[in-house]
């Protein structure tokens, strides 16, 4: 069965607000950098979110966020995507990741360097 991938990719409404704040607070140069990092964070933690929290909204075209399909490859390699399009999985992962980063930022610091260091010791699923 051929699964039709969407052209637009988005995130939950709540996470969108937090994504903007992460950019405004200068944790990332561009919002899409934060989007990609959020996806990677969720994958690194082995999180498999069921769905997006709240209502969904498109924010990017897939070509903008994943021009060389690296994200597509990574998600497909690390998650059993089933019948769900890979980029829908990307949205769920981004949603979780953005909320997680926002929580860390609110608690004190969003230390990218430290997160990268921690990822080396996260359990491999």
């Amino acid at each position: 069965m051929i699964i039709q991938e969407p052209n637009q990719i988005g995130i939950g409404e709540v996470a969108h607000v937090k994504l903007k704040k992460l950019h405004e607070d200068r944790h990332f140069a561009e919002m899409r950098d934060a989007y990609r990092f959020a996806i990677a964070l969720a994958l690194a933690h082995g999180v498999v979110p069921k769905d997006i929290t709240g209502s969904r909204q498109n924010i990017y075209s897939v070509a903008t966020v994943d021009p060389d399909q690296s994200l597509y490859t990574a998600i497909k390699a690390l998650i059993n995507t089933g019948d769900t399009p890979v980029y829908r999985w990307a949205e769920r992962l981004a949603d979780w990741g953005v909320i997680e980063m926002s929580k860390r930022a609110d608690e004190g610091t969003l230390d990218i360097g430290q997160i990268l260091k921690e990822s080396e010791t996260l359990s491999l699923e």
């Binding site: 990332f28 140069a29 994958l43 390699a77 690390l78 990218i112």
Partner: protein, 662 residues
């Protein structure tokens, strides 16, 4: 004379009622007052000064106006009563002195000395003394004119050291002050007043003789000279007034410039710090930009461990599939060989015809192989699929930016710490220069320099005018003597008056120089005594005094020691002060002084500490914590210390003096 107690109420930093008790036991006549700044100690000195004489001295020994002596916090609380009470004992009598200043009723907030009403009371053995008796009584035991030699702070010591520089401006000022102290003013006033009365008497005599023709010419000359003399005296007075104003203006500017200098320095520092701050802000910005660039690709690094693990798993599967494929290929080859044998019935190895038995064997083997081949399948597809996935995963290349991001963060943190420190320093400097106009310094310096020139010019004019006046006075004297020797004059009453005043004026005049000489000799003798006790260099035979009260050290061959160390200067200055103090007072009264130990070596320090308590009834030492270690450095007089106090700053405008132990 001995001090018994000092009570202060709302005086300078001493808020409320605070009391100090002085040591009175013989052999334990030293009091030590510890403090970590100048303010409290100078205020203690001023408490005594104000109590005894109604004056308090600030920087450069200028008077502090009364309304500025009242404790600020007490004023803010509406408590406008200030008092100093001193109990002392002298010639067997017990004295209780109280000087009080209270804000006048109609004044809301005092802004000048006149806004206070000052009362002075003195009781001797419980009996109140009348107003006009008080000052002379105080001056019997603790003469105001000599007070600067036994109530002195470090600034005064430096002034005395400047005396030793012949002809210095400070030196001249000190010389005048010393002469004032040593009783010379009474004789100077006597000369001035008898001179005034003499002039009057001469006028009277001239007027009486004016009808005598024989005196006509001389009287005319006398009138002429008198007019000139009066003119010169007026000029002299004007010049002196102008000189005083010039000196005051200059001293004020000196203070302001000195204050401005530090402001100017602060401004320079501030500018530099602001430049540094801007550089650091730019650097932090640059580092942040670099970091964000690294962060934009950091997501790849985040996935690295999991991607690597996945790839490892796939690679293992790939290897397994490869083995299977190779095994299949070898089976296929073998089957192919067997089919050929069956087809041709010839052995491919030896070329012989295959027997029936062999034929059956081959057939059986081929069957088994074909069954095996049928069971396997799809390894190639799987292998291709896995290889493709591995290729894709290899394309998710990582930048390994983690270490570099952490390095940028560390650099940013270090700069931010530096920035915070700089910003604190900048804030402090801004406060320091607030309200000042740094360009003012140049202008003030210029004005001050021209005032110095002006002062020198006026001093020359004063000197010239004085000489001219002297000449005229001599001429007047000659004429007056001539007139009073006229037979008609000799019996006149006014002639007798003139004669008497001339005598009194002459006596006062001549006594001044004679007194100066005697006093210098006595000061030299006493200063030498003090110096011999305090110096460590026993080869020095004593001190020699010059006409400016400068002292030279003399060696055993009566030669002047030319080069003196800073420590020696201090000891000489102290000797002078001690000599002056003991010349000015018949008995050794109390001495209150800042410890001048900054530049002295241990031996000198010990000598001074051992000597001073022996020449005074009480020695009160004001000690700066930072200069000396009280416990060790005051060891030579430890057994003579009768009382120890400490001044603590309990607020920016409030100090407390309390008993303590060393």
């Amino acid at each position: 004379m001995k001090l018994i107690s000092l009570s202060m109420r709302n005086f300078m930093p001493f808020r409320g009622e605070q009391k100090v008790v002085f040591p009175t036991k013989p052999g334990q006549n030293v009091m030590v007052v510890l403090g970590n700044n100048m303010r409290g100690k100078t205020s203690l000195l001023n408490a005594l000064r104000w109590g005894f004489y109604g004056i308090a001295k600030g920087r450069h020994l200028r008077d502090i106006p009364l309304h500025l002596l009242h404790n600020t916090d007490a004023g803010l609380d509406g408590d406008w009563e200030m008092e100093i009470a001193i109990q002392f004992e002298a010639e067997g009598f017990l004295y209780d002195l109280r000087r009080r200043a209270i804000k006048k009723k109609l004044v809301t907030i005092p802004g000048k000395p006149d806004d206070f009403e000052v009362t002075l009371q003195l009781q001797r053995d419980g009996m109140a003394m009348t107003g006009e008796q008080i000052e002379p009584e105080i001056n019997r035991f603790i003469p105001k004119q000599v007070s600067r030699f036994f109530l002195f702070d470090g600034e005064l010591l430096q002034e005395y050291e400047s005396l030793l520089i012949e002809g210095s401006d400070q030196g001249k000022h000190i010389k005048e002050a010393i002469e004032q102290v040593l009783g010379v003013p009474a004789l100077i006033n006597g000369r001035t007043e008898s001179g005034t009365l003499l002039k009057k008497a001469r006028k009277q005599l001239s007027s009486e003789l004016s009808h005598l023709k024989v005196a006509e010419k001389d009287l005319e000359k006398q009138r002429e000279y008198q007019v000139k003399s009066d003119a010169y005296e007026n000029d002299l007075q004007k010049l002196r007034d102008t000189l005083k104003k010039t000196k005051d203006d200059r001293a004020l500017l000196d203070d302001q410039i000195e204050e401005c200098e530090s402001v100017y320095d602060a401004k320079q520092k501030l500018d530099e710090f602001e430049r540094q701050r801007d550089r650091i802000i730019k650097e932090i910005e640059r580092l942040n930009i670099d970091k964000l660039e690294l962060v934009s690709n950091a997501w790849r690094d985040l996935l690295r461990p999991k991607i690597l693990a996945r790839r490892e798993k796939l690679a293992a599967e790939q290897r397994r599939l490869m083995n299977q494929i190779q095994h299949r290929t070898s089976i296929e080859n073998e089957a192919h060989q067997l089919r050929k044998i069956l087809e041709l019935s010839i052995c491919p190895t030896c070329g012989q015809t295959v027997s029936q038995t062999r034929h059956d064997e081959v057939n059986s083997r081929l069957g088994a192989l074909e069954i095996e081949l049928q069971a396997k399948g799809g390894e190639q597809d799987s292998f291709s699929s896995i290889s493709a996935e591995i290729d894709k995963l290899n394309k998710i290349t990582t930048q390994e930016v983690g270490e570099r991001i952490r390095d940028k963060d560390n650099q940013i943190n270090r700069f931010e710490v530096e920035l915070t420190k700089l910003e604190n320093d900048i804030e402090k400097l801004r406060d320091e220069i607030k309200g000042h106009d740094t360009a003012e310094i140049t202008r003030k310096r210029f004005i001050r320099d021209s005032l110095i020139k002006e002062q020198a010019k006026i001093e020359t004019e004063v000197s010239t005018t004085q000489k001219q006046l002297e000449t005229i006075k001599q001429e007047l004297d000659i004429i007056a003597r001539k007139l009073s020797n006229l037979p008609q004059a000799r019996t006149a009453r006014s002639s007798v008056l003139v004669d008497t005043y001339e005598g009194i004026e002459k006596a006062f005049s001549e006594s001044i120089d004679s007194l100066r000489k005697n006093l210098r000799e006595q000061v030299e003798e006493r200063a030498t005594e003090a110096f011999r006790m305090m110096t460590t260099q026993k080869a020095y035979s004593g001190l020699k005094i010059n006409k400016n009260y400068g002292l030279s050290i003399i060696d055993e061959a009566d030669r002047v020691i030319q080069v003196r160390s800073a420590g020696a200067e201090q000891v000489v200055a102290l000797s002078l002060i001690d000599g002056l103090s003991r010349t000015g007072r018949s008995n050794g009264g109390p001495v209150v002084m800042d410890t001048p130990f900054g530049r002295l070596d241990l031996q000198h320090r010990d000598n001074i500490l051992r000597y001073l308590p022996t020449t005074t009834s009480q020695l009160i030492l004001l000690v700066h914590d930072g200069e000396i270690s009280p416990k060790t450095d005051l060891a030579p007089i430890a057994d003579r210390i009768g009382m120890t106090y400490i001044i603590n700053e309990s607020g920016p405008r409030h100090s407390v003096i309390e008993r303590t132990a060393l």
